[in-house]
Subunit: 409 residues, 2 copies
């Protein structure tokens, strides 16, 4: 069923808040098999809200709105929905009782404009609000449905899960199943080129590529009569995709690279330590972002100055002098020193030129060396990045470190 | 000028990414004096993109689009904009040269679909993309303007600031001048309450508060005939604001706290080192994000395990045993140890409970101790955070560390 999401609220147009409701509803509706075709946002203006609902119904059979259900004067979604779907507002006694009970329970005074919230479209199916005062509702006319929910994310998500999902399930026939395939080391256009035959001949499952800071993703989705059929179709396509770009895939379940690496470290009960120069602690920060990693991650040394590299890791002055801080030799002495002080199973080092300054013809900005000791294995990988920006170089260096660990444990 | 923002991308309709472009552009356009009336999002479908642009032009004179400018088949914003505004696509030699140079510089192979990115509407004003391959452009017909930018936020924001803002400034008559006042240690509703008299009686300059992860901002804006008049009005209001909330202000020029701290460290030529437990390297990563900080930042120790705290910093086993890793005593021994090994002018340590697990009635999740040695001064600050999430706790702990340094150097 073709669906539109309409967000009502002037604060959104001012950019004062990020519209998280829309991303949440889009995910949920897609999972339920609805085709989200449009997102609209308008301010608290009855004409524009009405115009948007009418517009949405031109192409869609279902419109979900958030916002504009509160007790104040500028809350007008209810009145507008009534007008567009030809209904009238009536006081609903059971809703008023509910509201009165809510205020009593929370020890709050009920004002006249709160009572206004019990006025509902006469044909509406009302949805209770467990986390606030504004009830939601669904209204139908000639096969066109509108579902109106409050704007605060906590109220909206609760109402959606508890009341709206059961309502919507009755409306949809098909089931959508999809997997997000995550890749590192291949660009979006390379990925598309590699999969061109599969993408061009797609009907179901469909394939779509997405670029994400330094990595890219592939979405394989199928819409079938049952979950089983859709799942089987997706998995069959995934097998074909694997044959072509399997080397670049690090997750088939939309896990981040850091999550994959941390999960493996924890499962294998491996300890890990890091010695960073150009990334300045970002690798350690990324790992320690994952709850439960304290069993694996022991210590991280941010040896930014040459003195710190010598002091903390025993890098030799001659090495720094002869080969420079950004060199295979330094990266290897860093990781060897780290192994000696930490004794961890997995030790990783990185040194590079993050930019914007500090580059040279031999060692341009974006060049990094990553040292790794993993069990018996010791290696150093040279990565020349595209040098988009200091931020990007550092980010991509961390991804490269995670990728190197992922491929070696 | 009435303005609409159109986001193009099926991934947005799937809810795979949050639309941060729209919130960014809404803020920026409002600051420039444009009235944002609508946000629209559609998938990569030429008919629907065209329909939305036509719809937007009914009520608005300016439409900004993001997305759909990439090299792949489903990138079609350019073609659609051309159709709607009656222009044709031509290969632009200077754009092709730019692109070729970009690929050469980055050592990447240029594919045929990349060349397609040099094809532009013949009447377009082209905007260079400093952070990627897809150029943007502006196109006009009968007083209706469209500005098309790439979708990746990093590319879009750079292009917007560098090329689109100067273009838009020429379109507006009044001059808007504003300052963003950045505060730490005060919540948004506290801030609003403190400034209520000033906010309620505002006509020009206007005051608006914004909440931002762990901090809040105040925008003082004035719209006048000349830049000088607007600036004088804003600065006069700023003086009043300072009298009320001066203690919480760390920047009047929208600088991040980390930028303020790094600028001061560099100006004063102070060296700095960090010893982190719960923040796991985030403090070091934040500092080293600032170009040129290598003269000040010497080293960071991420002593996550107790062994690391003892090994690297000489924290005593008895201290850890008696007071626990999260304690004033441990924070102080960490920073004392750091001073001994690094000799830096400013030494800072942090230990706390980031959560979600690991809390206790005495030491709940969100409790951190921050140790600081700064010249002759040595102190420890206890911060009990609201415990929103692990991510938030770690983020807020880093802000608290920066704030402590800012107030003591």
């Amino acid at each position: 069923m073709k669906t539109a999401i309409l967000s009502v609220g002037t604060e959104l147009l001012f950019g004062q808040i990020t519209n998280t409701n829309t991303v949440y509803l889009s995910q949920q509706l897609n999972l339920l098999g609805f085709d989200v075709m449009y997102h609209y946002t308008v301010g608290d203006n009855p004409e524009r809200v009405a115009e948007m609902i009418r517009l949405a119904f031109k192409d869609c059979d279902l419109v979900l709105t958030t916002g504009g259900l509160g007790p104040t004067q500028d809350d007008l979604t209810k009145e507008v929905a009534c007008r567009v779907l030809g209904d009238e507002l009536v006081m609903m006694d059971d809703v008023l009782e509910d509201l009165t009970a809510y205020f009593r329970k929370n020890g709050r005074q009920m004002t006249d404009n709160n009572k206004k919230q019990a006025i509902m479209p006469s044909r509406a199916k009302v949805f209770r609000n467990d986390a606030g005062t504004a009830p939601g509702f669904a209204l139908q006319k000639d096969g066109k449905y509108i579902v109106c929910m409050p704007g605060p994310p906590r109220e909206m998500t609760r109402m959606f899960q508890k009341n709206v999902v059961p309502f919507l399930r009755k409306m949809s026939d098909d089931v959508i199943y999809y997997r997000m395939i995550r890749c590192f080391g291949i660009g979006e256009s390379q990925l598309e080129t590699a999969l061109l035959d599969l993408i061009d001949n797609q009907t179901d499952p469909t394939l779509a590529t997405y670029a994400k800071e330094g990595e890219c993703s592939l979405r394989i989705a199928s819409k079938r009569g049952t979950q089983e059929e859709a799942k089987a179709a997706v998995d069959e396509m995934l097998a074909k995709v694997r044959e072509i770009i399997g080397d670049y895939i690090y997750s088939c379940d939309d896990e981040d690279l850091v999550q994959v690496v941390c999960r493996k470290l924890m499962e294998k009960k491996l300890t890990v330590a890091s010695a960073e120069s150009c990334t300045g602690g970002m690798f350690a920060a990324a790992l320690t972002d994952v709850p439960g990693i304290s069993g694996s991650f022991q210590r991280g040394l941010v040896t930014y100055s040459n003195e710190a590299k010598m002091d903390e890791l025993g890098v030799r002055a001659e090495t720094l002098e002869k080969y420079g801080a950004v060199s295979e030799e330094t990266a290897l002495e860093m990781v060897e020193g780290l192994k000696a002080v930490s004794g961890c199973d997995v030790c990783i080092s990185v040194t590079g030129v993050a930019g914007p300054g500090g580059g040279s013809p031999e060692k341009p900005v974006g060049l990094v060396y990553i040292g790794l000791i993993c069990g018996e294995r010791k290696l150093c990988k040279r990565v020349q990045m595209r040098n988009v920006s200091r931020k990007w170089n550092r980010h991509y260096a961390v991804l490269s470190m995670l990728d190197l660990i992922n491929k070696n444990i």
